[in-house]
C-alpha cells in the first residue's frame, strides 16, 4: 500500500497555510457571532414585537351572523322564512379575467343567462373584494362537481348560507317588502347609527316594508369567533366564541287568509285594500295590486326582471295602499255630513231641492250633480244613500274650507297615520293656508265646492281612508294602525304583545254619529249605491261608495267611460265596516280605472267581509263582480 510520492511540503508553506486557515477560522467565528447577534436581536430584544405579529397572523376574528327573525301572519302562517343553502360565490378581486373564468365555470355548473345578468348588476353595485353569489341552491351533484374542480377556480368558493324566502310572494310583498344586499348607502346609514359592528358579516338588510321598518328586531346581534387561521386563511380551530343572538320573530296582525281572499277578489285588477280592526287598529289585510315577487330582490335582482317591474305600466312596485294618493271622491261625504251636524250647519231634518246642479251666488258656472235632473228633495240621510252631490256643494259653501280642513282632519285625512312601515305619504286635505303657502294664491269659494265631494285638491291614501272609516266605525276612537301584533323571542319562544295604541278619541255626539251611520247602512240596502254588493248578506254592513276622478272633464262635456283610454277611467272607491252594529272590520277599497265604487269596489269589500265574518271563500260570490254598475256614472266637473 505504501507508495513513495515526491514530498513537496516545505515548513514555510505549511506555516503560511496554517496562518491562512486560522484567518478563516476567525472569519467563521466572526460571521457566526453576527448571526448570533441577529438571533439575539430577534428573539430577545424584539421578541414581544414578533410575538404580537405571530399572534396577529394566526388569530382572526370572524363574525357569526345571526339568523334573521321570521315573520308570521296572525295565525302563524309563514310570510318570511329562512333556509340553508349552498351558494357559489365569487370574489372578483381574486380573479384576473372574470368573463373567461365564468365561461369556464359554466362548463361544469349550470349558470343561466339570468344568473349572469344578476351577477353583473351585483358586480356594478359592490366592492371588488366582496364575495358575490353567482348561483344559489346548489344541488349535491353540483357541489361535488365544483369541489372536484375547485383548484381551477381560485377566488370562487362554495359557501353555506342562510337565505331568506318569501313563500307568499306577490300576496304580501307590499307588506313584507324584502331584504337585499347591503349597499354603500346602507353602510353609511349603519355607520351613522353606530350599528356597523353588528353588521360585520351580514350581507343583507331590510330595504322596504316590514323587513325595513323592523330591521332592528329582525336582524339580531352578531356574535364573534376568535379563529386560528393558517396562511391560506382557512380556519383551523376556534379559540373563543361569543354566540350570535338570532333576530326576533314577528307576528303580524295580517290574516293571510283574508289577504288571499282580498287578492282573489281583485282578480287581475289594479288597486288597493286596507282592512283594520276598528277595536285596536290592527291591520287585517293590506293589499296593493299588483304585487311583485319579492324573492327576486334578495340576492340582487337581474336587469331584465328589474326592467320588467320598474317599467311596467301597472307599476307593481308602487305600494298603492301606503303611497298611492287618490281623490277620495264621494267616500268623503260621510265626514262632510258629520261636520255639518257637529258644527250645526245642518240638521238631520233639513232638506233641499236638488235641481241637478249648484251655482254659487252671482256666478254663472254650474256644478253638476252626477245625476242629470237631480235627486229631488234631499235631506242628509238621502244625500249619503244616493250620494247626492248638490247637497254637499251647498253644504261646503256654508262650512267653508277651513272648517272642513280642521274637522275632517280629525279623521286622519291629510296626515300620516303613523303605521309601522316606512314610506307612508300624507295625502292632502286642503286649507286656505295650505293654498297660500303652496301656490301663493287666495282660496276661492269655488275651490271648496269640489273638495266637498272629495275631488279638487283632495287626496288620500287607501290607508288613510281605512283609518278614517275605523274612526267612524268605533265612534271616534283613533287607534294607531299596526302591522306587527307580537314580537317573539326566537330563542325562548316568549311572545311579547305590542299593546294597541289609542292616538286620541273624538268627542262626537252619539246622535250625530248614529244619523250618519244609519245612512251608511242604508247605502248597502235597496235604493243605496252599494245595494247590489250587499244582497243576501247575513250581517249588516255600512259603507260609502266613491269615484275618484283621473282626468278632468271640460264644462259642458260628459264623462263617457267607453270613449276614454282605460288608464284614464275613474277609480272606484268604497269604504265600509261590518257588522254595522258592532264593527269587527273597517276597510277602504280602491280599484283603479274601473268606474264607480258600487260596481267594482263594494263587491270586493263584501267578499272580504264574508271571509272575515263568515269564513267564506271568495269563489262563491265572484260571479257578481261583472254585473252592471249600480251607482250611475259620475259627472265630472
Amino acid at each position: 500500500m505504501k507508495r513513495h510520492v515526491e514530498l513537496r511540503n516545505h515548513p514555510v508553506e505549511l506555516h503560511k497555510f496554517r496562518f491562512r486557515l486560522a484567518v478563516s477560522a476567525c472569519f467563521v467565528l466572526v460571521l457566526f457571532l453576527i448571526l448570533y447577534v441577529r438571533f439575539y436581536y430577534l428573539q430577545v430584544s424584539q421578541q414581544e414585537h414578533y410575538h404580537t405579529l405571530a399572534e396577529a397572523n394566526r388569530i382572526s376574528i370572524s363574525p357569526l351572523v345571526p339568523n334573521r327573525g321570521l315573520i308570521y301572519d296572525r295565525n302563524g302562517r309563514a310570510l318570511a322564512q329562512n333556509y340553508s343553502a349552498y351558494t357559489l360565490e365569487v370574489i372578483p378581486s381574486k380573479i384576473q379575467n372574470l368573463e373567461s373564468t365564468l365561461d369556464e365555470l359554466a362548463t361544469i355548473i349550470e349558470i343561466t343567462a339570468t344568473d349572469r345578468q344578476r351577477f353583473k348588476k351585483l358586480l356594478k353595485e359592490s366592492k371588488r373584494f366582496n364575495s358575490l353569489p353567482i348561483r344559489s341552491r346548489l344541488t349535491d351533484v353540483e357541489i361535488a362537481t365544483f369541489a372536484a374542480n375547485r383548484y381551477r377556480f381560485p377566488g370562487i368558493e362554495i359557501k353555506a348560507r342562510v337565505l331568506r324566502q318569501y313563500p307568499e310572494k306577490e300576496v304580501v310583498s307590499h307588506i313584507i317588502g324584502y331584504i337585499s344586499r347591503i349597499n354603500d348607502q346602507d353602510l353609511e346609514q349603519l355607520e351613522r347609527n353606530e350599528e356597523l359592528n353588528n353588521y360585520r358579516g351580514s350581507q343583507h338588510i331590510g330595504k322596504i316594508g316590514i323587513e325595513q321598518s323592523y330591521e332592528k328586531q329582525l336582524h339580531g346581534v352578531t356574535g364573534f369567533e376568535e379563529v386560528e387561521t393558517d396562511a391560506a386563511g382557512r380556519s383551523i380551530r376556534v379559540l373563543s366564541r361569543t354566540p350570535s343572538i338570532p333576530g326576533n320573530n314577528l307576528i303580524l296582525s295580517i290574516d293571510l287568509g283574508l289577504q288571499e281572499a282580498a287578492e282573489k277578489a281583485f282578480g287581475d285588477r289594479r288597486g288597493a285594500l286596507v282592512a283594520l280592526d276598528p277595536n285596536n287598529g290592527e291591520v287585517l289585510a293590506f293589499v296593493s295590486k299588483p304585487g311583485y315577487d319579492n324573492n327576486l330582490f334578495i340576492g340582487g335582482i337581474d336587469q331584465e326582471n328589474w326592467n320588467l317591474l320598474n317599467n311596467s305600466i301597472d307599476r307593481p312596485l308602487n305600494n298603492r295602499a301606503l303611497r298611492g294618493v287618490y281623490p277620495p271622491g264621494s267616500t268623503f261625504k260621510p265626514f262632510m255630513a258629520l261636520a255639518a251636524l257637529e258644527l250645526g250647519k245642518r240638521t238631520p231634518e233639513y232638506s233641499m231641492s236638488d235641481p241637478g246642479y249648484f251655482s254659487l251666488p252671482g256666478v254663472e258656472r254650474r256644478y253638476r250633480d252626477w245625476k242629470p235632473g237631480g235627486h229631488g228633495r234631499v235631506d242628509l240621510h238621502k244625500s249619503l244613500v244616493v250620494s247626492c252631490d248638490t247637497y254637499y256643494y251647498s253644504l261646503a259653501n256654508d262650512l267653508g274650507i277651513d272648517n272642513i280642513h280642521s274637522f275632517i282632519g280629525q279623521f286622519g285625512l291629510g296626515k300620516k297615520t303613523g303605521i309601522d312601515v316606512e314610506g307612508e305619504v300624507s295625502g292632502l286635505l286642503p286649507s286656505s293656508a295650505w293654498k297660500m303657502s303652496q301656490y301663493k294664491q287666495k282660496w276661492y269659494a269655488g275651490d271648496t265646492i269640489s273638495v266637498a265631494i272629495g275631488q279638487g285638491y283632495n287626496l288620500a291614501t287607501p290607508l288613510q281612508l281605512a283609518f278614517a272609516t275605523m274612526v267612524i266605525a268605533n265612534n271616534g276612537k283613533a287607534y294607531l294602525p299596526r302591522l306587527v301584533k307580537q314580537i317573539q323571542n326566537s330563542d325562548t319562544g316568549d311572545v311579547e304583545d305590542i299593546p294597541e295604541k289609542l292616538l286620541y278619541s273624538l268627542n262626537l255626539k252619539p246622535r250625530n254619529l248614529e244619523i250618519v251611520k244609519n245612512a251608511l247602512v242604508d247605502v248597502t240596502r235597496p235604493g243605496g249605491t252599494a245595494a247590489k254588493a250587499a244582497i243576501n248578506a247575513s250581517y249588516t254592513f255600512a259603507g260609502k261608495t266613491g269615484t275618484s276622478q283621473v282626468i278632468g272633464i271640460k264644462q259642458g262635456e260628459r264623462y263617457n267611460e267607453k270613449s276614454i283610454n282605460e288608464r284614464h277611467r275613474d277609480h272606484a272607491m268604497f269604504i265600509a265596516y261590518a257588522p254595522a252594529d258592532n264593527p269587527k272590520i273597517a276597510l277602504a277599497v280602491l280599484v283603479e280605472n274601473t268606474g264607480t265604487g258600487g260596481s267594482t269596489a263594494a263587491p270586493i269589500a263584501r267578499q272580504v267581509f264574508d271571509y272575515y265574518l263568515l269564513g267564506k271563500s271568495p269563489e262563491a260570490t265572484v260571479a257578481k263582480l261583472n254585473e252592471p254598475a249600480e251607482e250611475p256614472v259620475h259627472d265630472h266637473l
Binding site: 500500500m1 505504501k2 507508495r3 510520492v5 514530498l7 513537496r8 511540503n9 508553506e13 503560511k16 497555510f17 496554517r18 491562512r20 486557515l21 478563516s24 477560522a25 467563521v28 460571521l31 457566526f32 453576527i34 448571526l35 448570533y36 441577529r38 438571533f39 439575539y40 430577534l42 428573539q43 430577545v44 424584539q46 421578541q47 414585537h49 414578533y50 410575538h51 405579529l53 405571530a54 399572534e55 397572523n57 394566526r58 386560528e228 387561521t229 393558517d230 396562511a231 391560506a232 383551523i236
Partner: protein
C-alpha cells in the same frame, strides 16, 4: 465474534468518528425538525432518512478511496461539468424562468450541483500541479478555471449557486496563498462593479435585494418570506414555542418550511437556546474539519479540505442569514437539516473526501 469485529473494522476503517458523530447528530436534529415542519408527515421523514442513508453510503465509499485516486478525477470531472453546463445553456429545460436542468434521457440532472465538488477539486489539483512555481499567472489561470463555470451558472440564472461555487473557488485561491494585496484589490473591484452587476441582474434578483433592505415594501410579494421567517424566529423567544407548537410553521405562514426555511421552524420551536446549540454543533463539525485540514499532508488535500470546510460554513451562514433577514433570499439549503437529497449527497461527498484525507496513510515528512 471475530467476524463481526472484522466487519466493523472494515466498515469504520476510513471513518473519522468525531466528524461522523457530529454529522449524525445534525442529521438527527434535522429529522426532528422535519417531522414538525412537514406537519408530522412520516413519509417525508422516511424519504429524508433514505436520502441520508444514500448520502452516508456515498460518503463511506468516497472515504474509502485514497486521495490520489480522487485527484485523478479532478480534471475529467471538471471538463464533464463544463460540457454539461454548456449543454444546459443550449438545451436545458426552462423551469420558473431559469434554465438549470438538463435532460440526459434517463433522468434530469442539475450540472451546477456537480460543480460544487468539481471546482474545489479542480482548483486544488491545479495548485498542486503548480505548487513549486506559484506566480501571479497561476492565480490568474485558476481564476479563469473558476470563472468559466460561475459565469455559465450565473446566466442560467442561478445567483445563489454561482456565488457559492465562486466562494468555494475563492477559498482555494485564498488558502493557496493569494496575496493580501490582490485580495484587497479584488474586494475593491467587486465593490466598484456592484452597480454593473445591478444593471445586469434579473428583476427578481434585484427585488430580492431591495426587499432585504426593506421587506415591508412588499409584504405579500417578495418581502413575504423574510417577514414571515423573521416573525417565526423572533416570536420563538429564548426558549421557543416547543416542538410542533410553532404557529408560524404549523399554520403554513412560513414558505418552503421543510427546505430552505427549515431553520425558521427550528428557531421558532426551540428559541435562542436551540439556536445556540445548533450553532455550537455546526461549529464543532467545522472545527473538526479545520483540524483535518490543518493536518492534511499535501497541497492538494489541504486546499480541497479547506475549501470544503469553508463552503460548508458558507452554506450555513448564507442560509441562516437569509432566513433571519440579514442576507437576500437565495436558494441555499441548511446543510444536513434541510429536506432534499441532492444537497445531502453533495455535503456528505465533501465529508467523505475529508475523512479520506484524515484516515488514509499520510505522507511522511522528511
Amino acid at each position: 465474534m471475530i467476524e463481526i469485529r472484522k466487519i466493523w473494522h472494515y466498515l469504520t476503517r476510513y471513518m473519522d468518528s468525531f466528524l461522523l458523530i457530529g454529522i449524525l447528530t445534525l442529521m438527527a436534529v434535522g429529522l426532528i425538525v422535519l417531522y414538525s415542519a412537514t406537519g408530522a408527515n412520516m413519509s417525508r421523514v422516511n424519504n429524508q432518512i433514505i436520502n441520508m442513508l444514500v448520502a452516508l453510503v456515498i460518503m463511506w465509499l468516497v472515504a474509502n478511496i485514497p486521495l490520489q485516486q480522487i485527484m485523478r478525477l479532478a480534471l475529467p470531472m471538471y471538463i464533464l461539468g463544463i460540457v454539461l453546463l454548456i449543454g444546459v445553456a443550449l438545451f436545458g429545460e426552462i423551469n420558473n424562468g431559469a434554465r438549470r436542468w438538463l435532460n440526459i434521457g434517463v433522468t434530469r440532472i442539475q450540472p451546477s450541483e456537480l460543480m460544487k465538488i468539481a471546482i474545489p477539486l479542480m482548483m486544488a489539483w491545479y495548485f498542486d500541479k503548480h505548487e513549486i512555481t506559484l506566480r501571479l499567472k497561476d492565480y490568474l489561470g485558476a481564476t479563469v478555471l473558476l470563472m468559466l463555470p460561475v459565469l455559465l451558472i450565473l446566466r442560467q440564472p442561478d445567483l445563489g449557486t454561482a456565488l457559492l461555487i465562486a466562494a468555494s473557488g475563492f477559498y482555494v485561491l485564498f488558502l493557496a496563498g493569494l496575496s493580501w494585496r490582490i485580495i484587497a484589490g479584488l474586494a475593491i473591484t467587486v465593490a466598484a462593479s456592484l452597480p454593473v452587476f445591478w444593471s445586469i441582474m434579473h428583476d427578481y434578483q434585484r427585488r430580492r435585494i431591495m426587499t432585504l433592505l426593506d421587506p415591508s415594501q412588499d409584504p405579500l410579494g417578495a418581502g413575504y418570506h423574510t417577514i414571515q421567517s423573521s416573525i417565526a424566529i423572533g416570536s420563538g423567544g429564548v426558549i421557543g414555542k416547543g416542538w410542533q407548537n410553532g404557529t408560524q410553521a404549523q399554520l403554513d405562514f412560513l414558505p418552503e418550511q421543510s427546505t430552505d426555511f427549515i431553520f425558521a421552524v427550528f428557531s421558532e420551536e426551540f428559541g435562542l437556546i436551540g439556536n445556540t446549540i445548533l450553532l455550537f454543533l455546526y461549529l464543532v463539525v467545522i472545527a473538526r474539519c479545520m483540524v483535518i485540514t490543518a493536518n492534511a499532508s499535501t497541497q492538494f488535500t489541504r486546499l480541497i479540505a479547506g475549501s470544503i470546510t469553508l463552503t460548508f460554513f458558507t452554506y450555513i451562514f448564507v442560509n441562516m442569514g437569509m432566513v433571519s433577514g440579514i442576507l437576500p433570499i437565495v436558494g441555499v439549503p441548511l446543510p444536513l437539516i434541510s429536506y432534499g437529497g441532492t444537497s445531502m449527497v453533495t455535503m456528505l461527498l465533501g465529508f467523505g473526501i475529508l475523512m479520506s484525507i484524515q484516515t488514509h496513510p499520510k505522507l511522511v515528512k522528511t
